[in-house]
């Protein structure tokens, strides 16, 4: 965290002023910074390999729904997309410098106070403009990391945001990040052979204008796709163990 604050203070803040300010500039800088981080981890942790679906890399103007298994998930997604934003826990907005960066870079606070009244409309309009400009908005609808690989309850918020913005949803399935950076620890597990994968498992195009449209049905549809994928992955792992 302190290392990150150091980088923010001596790289991001000066860059922001030199570049004349701007959300997109900060997002791109953050993207390059984390891209460099993962290039470094590939060199330093050769036992971990990355398999990124090209269809994931090509996503633009998309609301991306992901399963969440490690702290690495959001930064891995930032490293893939030059223009990206997401919902961030409100507590991070109170951290000096880091909070400044989050606001300037267009991240959306999860706090109810920031998602009420005028602030909520402002945030939604910002997300809409960000998507229209080719940016991605990625969200972990479970809200927190899974400790056992199973899905927690999905929050409806992102599905309402998708409807507000009138865009489709791309479902991305992440595996392996929890083996490299386990929940409950603050160190990298560099000794284990591991594969980190990101796969586009479905795209949902809801008919928002349909008379019988409901957010719940879109949420259920997305959840079923993830549950099926998790069942398939567990089935494959079982076969490997038995074989």
């Amino acid at each position: 965290m302190f290392g990150y604050l150091f980088i923010l203070l001596f790289l991001f803040v000066p860059y922001y002023w030199v570049a004349g300010g701007g959300t997109v500039a900060l997002q791109k800088l953050n993207h390059l910074h984390l891209k460099g981080f993962f290039m470094l981890t590939r060199r330093l942790i050769p036992r971990t390999t990355y398999v990124i679906d090209p269809k994931v890399r090509e996503l633009r103007s998309s609301i991306i729904i992901c399963n969440h298994i490690s702290y690495l998930d959001p930064i891995l997604l930032v490293s893939l997309f030059p223009q990206q934003t997401t919902i961030v826990k409100n507590t991070f907005f109170r951290v000096p410098i880091f909070g400044w960066f989050l606001r300037r870079a267009g991240y959306v606070p999860s706090s109810p106070a920031e998602m009420l009244g005028e602030a909520m409309i402002k945030n939604l309009e910002n997300v809409k403009a960000h998507l229209a400009a080719g940016g991605n908005f990625f969200v972990f609808p479970e809200g927190t990391r899974s400790r056992d690989g199973n899905l927690s309850t999905f929050n409806r918020g992102v599905f309402s945001i998708a409807r507000y913005c009138g865009v489709s949803l791309d479902l991305v399935f992440i595996t392996g990040t929890d083996q490299l950076f386990r929940p409950g620890t603050f160190s990298f597990n560099t000794r284990k052979d591991n594969v980190i994968t990101l796969e586009l498992i479905a795209s949902i195009h809801p008919d928002y204008q349909a008379r019988n449209f409901s957010i719940s049905s879109v949420l259920d549809q997305a959840r079923q796709v993830f549950e099926q994928k998790i069942a398939d992955v567990k089935g494959d792992a079982r076969l490997k163990t038995e074989g």
Binding site: L116, M120, I121, S160, Y164
Partner: protein, 91 residues
């Protein structure tokens, strides 16, 4: 469009989108039914569909202060009067 038409539509939206059956007119929706800010956004989008017209940012912001069914119906009545036209499907 009469006030009764609007009320009927709003009740239908509440049943369909929020699974709330016949909400009372004057109760605070947040306290009585847990109607939150995400639900408010959903309601706005349903209102747009009903009026067959996109709401302005200012109109959306005004909606964020609404707390009761009666206020919702008043709000739609004002919007409909401003637009002065009835969507065909709701006639």
């Amino acid at each position: 469009m009469t006030r009764q038409d609007i009320e009927r539509e709003v009740r239908d939206i509440f049943l369909r989108a929020f699974e709330i059956e016949n909400p009372e007119m004057d109760v605070n929706l947040r306290e009585a039914y847990g109607f939150d800010s995400i639900d408010a956004i959903e309601l706005l989008l349903e209102i747009e569909k009903f009026l067959d017209s996109e709401l302005t940012q200012e109109e959306k912001k005004q909606a964020m202060d609404i707390r009761t069914m009666k206020q919702i119906i008043d709000y739609i009545e004002v919007l409909a009067a401003k637009r002065k036209t009835l969507p065909e499907k709701n006639k």
